[in-house]
């Protein structure tokens, strides 16, 4: 038994070095070399300053911006505290939040009378979802266009150009990246703050 114990200690150390030090450091080295942008977080910069990551959602409340989904990460889009709401389907707190969220969505987009797109008032799993559905973006186009004093059709064309379809026409869901879209809008049609 003593012999097995000795092997247990040594093999743990051995594989800690191989799989715990060499493997991740090698992957880090190679990734930094061939995928430096992705490996460092797909960071977005404006005039050299970091404004976020294209993969990490952020809060937008102003009418000039497309709004993301509700977030349960920290106090909202906390990039160091990812989380869903974890509210169960029969929890009164969920019903309450949904009805408030629905009312807010309607008041922000008063001209829209149809059903609310499924992603618009539900909290995402990570709390950092950077994307919304194209249907959700379409509803918000009128508001954003009027706030930025631009033609809604021009704006919708920009949204459509930035929307991503299913990968290979098959995988995932169609979506629009809110962070990238809003950044693009600031570039094309700046507004007075």
């Amino acid at each position: 038994m003593y012999k097995e114990l000795k092997s247990a200690v040594l093999i743990t150390i051995c594989f800690t070095v191989i799989t715990g030090i060499l493997y991740p450091l090698a992957i880090t080295g190679v990734a930094q070399l061939i995928f430096p942008r992705q490996a460092n977080g797909s960071i977005l910069r404006r005039n050299g300053k970091v404004v976020g990551s294209e993969l990490i959602g952020q809060n937008f409340a102003r009418p000039e911006y497309f709004h993301p989904r509700p977030s349960a990460a920290g106090s909202g889009y906390d990039g160091a505290a990812s989380s869903g709401s974890n509210l169960g389907p029969t929890n009164p707190a969920l019903a309450d939040r949904l009805s408030k969220g629905g009312a807010q969505f309607r008041s922000e987009n008063p001209t829209y009378t149809g059903a609310i797109p499924a992603d618009a008032i539900t909290a995402s799993a990570s709390g950092l979802d950077p994307e919304i559905s194209p249907a959700n973006a379409r509803v918000q186009t009128l508001r954003v266009a009027s706030a930025r004093k631009m033609n809604p059709d021009t704006l919708q064309a920009i949204v459509d150009a930035m929307a991503e379809g299913r990968t290979l026409g098959l995988l995932g869901e169609p979506r629009v990246n809110v962070v990238k879209l809003n950044m693009k809008l600031d570039e094309l049609v700046p507004f007075q703050r």
């Binding site: 093999i11 490996a39 499924a118 539900t122």
Partner: protein, 587 residues
């Protein structure tokens, strides 16, 4: 449900079928110590590991065969020491390198470190902490990543030991634990992980050692964005059916799983080895039809799960429709219950992921199971309770399913009044007894701890939990709250690691009890199975006769599925009816 959704589900399954044979053959060659295309490169490393670690070699230079008690002893000694080392890493992280956020022992209490260290050693990866504010990069790499490899390799070894029991005759030995551990890690897990990690990077998964990024967002406020060596851990987290996230949101976090393509790859990696192992099993018992029969039974159960989860998640709930939410899918939005789901995955991919991760003992999540509809959420819960034998964990799925196969032939034997046989081995008192022990221990642990968690009360200023009932740690009231407790202990005992994550489990009470559940679920299952392996290996093979019940046809597949479902349903129906079932009626 949409045709596109079903097409994605079908594509996933075709990939699993396509890889079963080639990878299964490769695994058989590796685990039997034969030469493969990687031997030239990795053979010297393998021999170096044996030499450094004092593994006893036989006169031919191969690791010495072990009796089951020595095999089990090696497994236990290894698990105990590696768990201890992980505990030490967590508590000492303040003095260790790769720690840009300056996290220290105050971030990891002793009870949390115990829970986490047991969790990763048993291939559970239950996490009662928020990783991005708890663990340094060093602990994530040299602790978590290492255990992701080794706990999977150990599981694979145990499965091989059991299969050798069926394949051999009149011998006392079932393989060498150190060789199984080393070969599985070096030849199977490591090469696939390297490829997968780099693929994940290409999709946007991060891999760096930088401190957390600070951004000034477009609207002005600052945002801190957690970083780290994620891709290298992500690959083995899925491939080893571990499931412990680098971040709190696990595979829902855009840095862990950024695109539909990375999502497909993650689900594929979960089932890759478990699917292939059925073929490995077929090769080793010299009848690949036996392996495909297990594959068939697993496929039936997998499909039933996906169908149920997809259906109910797409249907949504009355609360959603009352708030005015669109529940039908349209071309521009997914419809259904999107609470706790990511836009890029939608309903189909989240339902599929939830089913796959709990069919296997993975436990990674790309959506929050706690916010699923009652019956959609029943699927992952019940999958774990079935013993995670639907493809299952790396190794764990195969040995679990073989345990059910033993019970199935025993039941068939009772019905026709013959001594049951499986793969030419007579299944007798000892095997059935051991299989029953393994099964009953799991059920007892789940139900006992759930009951205790539902009624426990704590005094003021006590150590174990804040004052009041343990149920105060729940995030949801009523039946759903009960389901959170049931899910926690089911996940722990089943070594899954996913959660109805609303439960605040980071208290000494939950850390200790879930920790115990994980230990029971791993080792009190594995030890009886190794005993079965040894008892089978000692037996002679009986040639099949006209009276032998064939175990490679649809009749056996049906019987096996029946046994798995009936045992699960009979054991857990009362508990489930207090949780998800009654909640569904309350909608």
């Amino acid at each position: 449900m949409t045709p596109n959704g079903w097409l994605q589900i079908a594509l996933f399954f075709v990939l699993i079928i396509a890889c079963a044979k080639p990878l299964g053959k490769f695994i058989a060659e590796v685990m039997e110590g034969r030469r493969t295309f990687l031997t030239g490169l990795l053979g010297p490393v393998e021999r170096l590991v044996y030499r450094l670690c004092g593994v006893t070699l036989d006169p031919e230079g191969k690791p010495e065969e072990q009796h089951w008690t020595r095999y089990a002893g090696a497994l236990l000694a290894f698990s105990a020491f590696s768990a201890l080392l992980l505990y030490a890493f967590q508590r000492l992280q303040g003095w260790l390198p790769f720690n840009p956020q300056g996290l220290n022992q105050n971030n990891v209490s002793p009870d949390l470190a115990f829970n986490t260290s047991v969790s990763f050693t048993t291939n559970t990866n239950w996490q009662s902490y928020v990783p991005e504010t708890t663990l340094s990069y060093f602990v994530q790499m040299a602790g978590m990543t290492v255990h992701n490899f080794l706990s999977a390799a150990a599981g694979l070894g145990i499965a091989m030991a059991l299969v050798r029991g069926f394949a051999r005759q009149s011998v006392q030995t079932i393989g060498n634990f150190w060789a199984d551990l080393t070969r599985a890690t070096l030849y199977i897990l490591l090469p696939i992980s390297v490829v997968a990690a780099l693929f994940f990077c290409s999709q946007g998964v991060i891999q760096n050692l930088n401190g957390y990024e600070t951004a000034t967002t477009l609207e002005g406020p600052r945002q801190t964005i957690a970083q780290g060596p994620v891709a290298s851990q992500e690959a083995i987290k899925m491939l080893g059916t571990n499931g412990g996230g680098f971040f709190n949101a696990n595979s829902a976090h855009p840095y862990e799983n950024p695109t539909p393509l990375s999502n497909l790859a993650q689900m594929f990696l979960i089932f890759l080895i478990p699917g292939a192992l059925t073929y490995t099993f077929g090769i080793m018992v010299r009848d690949t039809k036996q392996g495909w029969a297990l594959f068939g039974a697993m496929s039936v159960l997998w499909f039933a799960g996906v169908l149920t989860a997809y259906n109910f998640e797409q249907a949504g709930t009355p609360v959603l429709s009352k708030a005015g939410v669109e529940l039908s899918p349209t071309g521009e939005q997914s419809g259904g219950n999107m609470e706790g789901k990511e836009t890029r995955f939608g309903i189909a991919n989240t339902a599929l992921f939830a089913t796959v991760t709990t069919d296997a003992s993975c436990g990674a999540v790309n959506g929050m199971h706690d916010s699923f509809t009652p019956l959609g959420g029943l699927v992952p819960l019940f999958n774990i309770q079935l013993g995670e034998v639907v493809f299952g964990g790396v190794g764990a799925g195969l040995y679990g399913m073989l345990m059910f196969a033993i019970l199935a032939v025993f039941i068939a034997g009772l019905m026709v009044g013959r001594t049951p046989e499986y793969l030419g081995k007579k299944i007798e008192k000892k095997e059935v007894k051991m299989a029953m022990i393994a099964m009953l221990v799991l059920a007892a642990a789940i139900l006992f701890f759930t009951a205790a968690g539902s009624v426990a009360e704590f005094a003021k200023n006590g150590y174990w939990n804040p004052q009041g009932p343990a149920t105060a740690n729940l995030n949801n009231p009523g039946a759903h709250g009960f389901a959170e407790i049931l899910y926690a202990y089911t996940s722990g005992t089943g070594n899954n690691g996913s959660a109805f994550a609303g439960i605040s489990a980071n208290t000494p009470w939950y850390n200790l009890t879930i920790g115990l559940a994980m230990l029971i679920g791993r080792f009190l299952m594995v030890l009886p199975l190794l005993a079965i392996a040894s008892s089978l290996a000692a037996k002679r093979q009986v040639p099949a006769s006209a009276g032998t019940f064939p175990t490679h046809g649809p009749l056996f597949v049906g019987l096996l599925v029946g046994v798995v479902v009936i045992v699960g349903a009979l054991t857990y129906f009362p508990a489930l009816s207090l949780g998800p079932l009654v909640e569904h009626l309350m909608l």
